[in-house]
Symmetry: C2
Subunit: 128 residues, 2 copies
DNA sequence: ACATTTCTACGAATTCCTTCGTATAGTCAT
DNA sequence: ATGACTATACGAAGGAATTCGTAGAAATGT
């Protein structure tokens, strides 16, 4: 029954640091987040997140080291799926169209998307 | 300072009903949401949402009528933008790629996306 | 007129999120 | 060993979200 809860805003901010920097101590995370929060706030958050299973921690040394439990990609997917369900009637495609309209993408990114679509097309053709 | 806050889960559920049904009374909303919540819960939520400016209400009759303050589309865009900022480094395109991977889209939807991309291509060409 | 139903308003309980202060213990240099 | 520093743990405060009960006004039915 792991009722998978989505990370909160503060949790996501911490996860971003962990994904970018890899396993980190509380101090490293706090410092990267630039004095926005007190050290103990980051500590508490990480403790809570460990309790929720969002991060794992290595306690073998006195200074514990935290790392994200799930990959950035997996988490992103979960978040996208969640948003699609909550606001787009479950349709990722409609989410995609709004996303394309909401923010301009660079030509490189558009090319990447085209590539993906072409791949899909290839698969469907091949399946016949 | 309209610090635009994103609607919560419960609020979004109500907005979905309002978007689908158009202006509705508390009872109509509550009924559509299928006994999941007590009548007064829906009422309270709508009152709070009115305070936040998420819905407008017509009090001219005894039974008030609520309607969504912003369109479904505008809200979806806001949510997508918000998610892109929080979890995709602000890149809507990366969000799109995850969205495409996360849920299967129907051929019709894929066609729609291709169409949009083609449109963009046309615009860029035309701008030279 | 009186009882029933249907509203809105409001208060209150619960839970979660976020924040930080304080307590306590380990480490390290002098 | 004493003092300065750094670490974790814990408690607690404040705010937001969610839930629903109860009170009282307005409408409706008999």
């Amino acid at each position: 029954m792991t009722a998978r809860r989505r990370p909160t805003d503060a949790e996501l901010a911490i996860l971003r640091v962990l994904w970018a920097q890899g396993p980190s101590t509380v101090r490293e995370v706090a410092e990267e987040m630039g004095r926005a929060n007190a050290y103990t706030t980051v500590l508490k958050l990480l403790q809570i997140m460990a309790g929720k299973g969002l991060v794992r921690r290595d306690e073998s040394a006195r200074t514990h080291v935290y790392r994200a439990a799930r990959s950035e990609r997996a988490t992103q997917r979960q978040l996208v799926r969640d948003l699609a369900d909550r606001a787009f009637g479950g349709s990722a495609a409609r989410l995609v169209l709004q996303a394309l309209a909401a923010k301009k993408a660079s030509p490189e990114e558009l090319a990447e998307i085209r590539e993906w679509l072409a791949e899909q097309e290839g698969k469907r053709e091949g399946a016949r």
